[in-house]
């Protein structure tokens, strides 16, 4: 089983004719994702990797049925594309672009809430239900089916950890990238709820980092509602306060979002926090 997406999820690619869009359309098709159409204003009628291209999301949905969309475009155009997709009725949007203005992101989130839609990202690698479908830009080969759910704020670090798991013979149910920005659609707590309900997921890995309070909120949720074991790793122990460590969201401001407060909260909730990313797979093995 899987959460959010499965092999039947029909996906549009917004910004399909761009370099990133076309490359990852190929990668997603290779993985098995059901891509039914692409959107690129002014480029309607073309094909990319055999996928028909439309001028707008509305036009795409006049011709194809779809539930989800992945967005590739420069940040200044992302809000409009996301609003369009939501208005047109899509219920799951994966926002790949980074550097989307915060006020744009907040408008997207407010409208998604109204439309009861799920936003993954922005500044995310997307999500993958191992072995059946991916809507994202993660490398295909590390994501093989297995019993562990993974949810992460960062990309490459998540691949590193999933790579370790794979090397240890442990596969994943679904792997979700929350995104590295300050305002993102999904938080740990949302994904934890889904994993708790997912019969195939037997343990969950949280990959967090400094900044924000998503890990602390997740800890409170784990303590109150999670029956499945949760293992965590947090990046940024050595980061100085007040500095943005690459991700817009990875910053300790006004004494909030420190490594220590997160570890304390997670430990208090019974979550095992690995001190090195390379030690996660053995912690996972111990709880499976």
């Amino acid at each position: 089983m899987s959460i959010y997406i499965d092999e039947n999820t029909r996906v549009l690619v917004q910004g399909i004719t761009g370099k990133q869009g076309s490359f990852h359309t190929g990668q997603m098709l290779n993985y098995g994702t059901k891509i039914v159409g692409g959107v690129s204003p002014g480029k309607g009628g073309q094909e990319v990797e055999g996928v028909p291209v439309y001028n707008s999301t509305f036009e795409a949905l006049e011709n194809q049925e779809a539930e989800a969309s992945i967005l590739f475009m420069p940040a200044p155009f992302a809000k409009d594309a996301a609003m369009e997709a939501l208005d047109a009725g899509l219920k799951l949007l994966v926002l790949i672009p980074e550097s989307i203005p915060l006020h744009d992101a907040m408008e997207i989130m407010a409208y998604a809430k109204q439309k009861s839609a799920v936003i993954v990202g922005p500044n995310t690698f997307g999500l993958v239900s191992s072995g059946s479908s991916k809507i994202g830009i993660m490398p295909n080969r590390y994501f093989i089916p297995g019993p562990v759910g993974v949810v992460s704020r960062s990309g490459t670090l998540c691949y590193e950890i999933v790579g370790h798991l794979t090397d240890s013979g442990i596969g994943t149910t679904t792997v979700v990238g929350l995104g590295g920005d300050r305002v993102v659609g999904l938080h740990f707590i949302d994904v934890l709820k889904k994993f708790e309900e997912d019969h195939d997921t037997r343990a969950v890995i949280m990959v967090g980092e400094i900044g924000g309070s998503a890990e602390e909120e997740a800890a409170a949720h784990v303590a109150a509602h999670m029956s499945k074991p949760v293992i965590a790793y947090l990046a940024g122990k050595s980061a100085p306060p007040g500095k943005r460590m690459g991700h817009a969201g990875a910053i300790i401001e006004r004494g909030r979002g420190t490594f220590e407060s997160k570890v304390e909260a997670l430990n208090g909730a019974g979550v095992k926090v690995a001190d090195l990313p390379t030690r996660i797979s053995s912690l996972v093995q111990s709880v499976l």
């Binding site: 203005p101 409208y111 490398p139 990309g155 305002v183 990046a235 980061a239 460590m245 690459g246 817009a248």
Partner: protein, 367 residues
């Protein structure tokens, strides 16, 4: 992008938010002239670090002589390594009460939040939770008058002061939104006989939205090296140690630094050169790091979109063009790792498969 107080107040003024009369000065003489014009004054160092008051960067003066003296003193000071290039000389206002008001962004609620408190003037972290009212503003309707009345009720404010807030908050809200601010903080917000006045201004503009605010000045707290990295579109932060670190992805770069520290080393920097960089950009990243003259170079590549052969090629190019004399610990796996390794082996460079081993090796090399 953090704005100096005087810039924040210029913006306040543009949005009809009351601020004290003031003069911006660049030397002690001008400070004296400003005091002659304004009477009793407050002299404030224009630096971006917080807590300049505690550090002695704010002074009062009741005559031009005193103002000159204090201005001289402040110009000679250093605030977290930065000297003030300008001072703001402001009329001293009659303050009946010091309040706190800020608009900021709440990542948990995914929307702006108003922070308001009757306990102004002190550090925001020191205000007890229950004295700080937090009101998330639903983006789909924006700040509405009832929210302001409700914030006032929760603060215990009514009558004339509530009316003041009903006039004041919508202006700050509008500025916050129109200028793509991440933070617009007024501490203290001064209640004077003429109503509410912004006695300070801490405004941060969202870097990612600067492209649509060409009218705003560009201010950087970054070091020269950080600015150079910014031009190359690299995420770079200068640190204190001696092991230069380069990795692809913010999370894994942070984790690499953490691991360096875990094994007893000290990272010299954070450098995330991003996903899918080409030979050119990768070379530039390397050159930037080598320019910092570190003791050891640690490269940690987990190739996804980033191709290992591209990284290897860039490394060889830089090595051949300018030489890489310092010891290197190189971890390289993922997309095209065989090709990458082959390129490096021709040059006699060994790579690690494991991040753990690579980091430990780097720490050993730095010892």
């Amino acid at each position: 992008m953090k704005l100096y107080e005087y810039l924040g107040k210029e913006l306040f003024n543009r949005y009809d938010i009351p601020v004290p009369r003031s003069r911006l000065v660049e030397n002690a003489g001008q400070a004296g002239e400003a005091a002659a014009e304004l009477g009793d004054v407050v002299i404030k160092s224009q630096v971006l670090t917080g807590k300049r008051g505690k550090a002695g960067g704010i002074a009062f003066a009741s005559n031009p002589e005193e103002a000159k003296k204090e201005a001289s003193r402040i110009f000679d000071m250093s605030f977290s390594g930065f000297a003030a290039e300008k001072l703001l000389v402001e009329e001293k206002i009659e303050i009946e009460q010091e309040l706190y008001l800020a608009f900021t962004i709440d990542g948990s609620a995914r929307c702006p939040v108003v922070l308001a408190s009757l306990s102004g003037g002190m550090d925001v972290e020191e205000v007890p939770e229950e004295r700080m009212i937090r009101w998330p503003v639903d983006v789909s309707i924006g700040l509405q008058p009832y929210m302001i009345r409700e914030i006032c009720r929760l603060m215990g404010v009514s009558g004339d002061l509530q009316k003041e807030f009903l006039k004041f908050m919508p202006k700050l809200d509008r500025m916050f939104k129109e200028l793509d601010a991440e933070l617009a903080e007024i501490n203290p917000l001064a209640l004077t006989p003429n109503g509410l006045v912004a006695a300070d201004a801490k405004v941060t503009i969202d870097d990612d939205a600067l492209y649509r605010h060409q009218e705003l000045p560009r201010i950087s707290e970054k070091t020269a090296l950080e600015r150079k990295a910014e031009e190359l579109d690299l995420a770079y932060v200068e640190l204190e140690g001696d092991i230069a670190v380069m990795a692809n992805g913010a999370g894994i770069t942070m984790a690499t630094l953490d691991m360096v520290q875990h094994y007893g080393g000290e990272p010299a920097n954070f450098l995330d050169f991003g996903g899918g960089a080409d030979v050119e950009k990768t070379s530039q990243s390397l050159e930037l790091l080598l320019g910092t003259d570190p003791r050891v170079l640690l490269i940690n590549i987990f190739g996804g979109i980033t191709r290992c052969d591209v990284v290897a090629e860039a490394f060889v190019r830089v090595k051949q063009s300018q030489g890489i004399e310092l010891p290197v610990s190189f971890r390289l796996i993922g997309t095209n790792e065989e090709e990458g390794r082959a390129i490096l082996e021709k040059e006699g460079i060994k790579t690690f498969n494991s991040m753990d081993e690579a980091v430990r090796h780097a720490v050993e090399l730095s010892a």
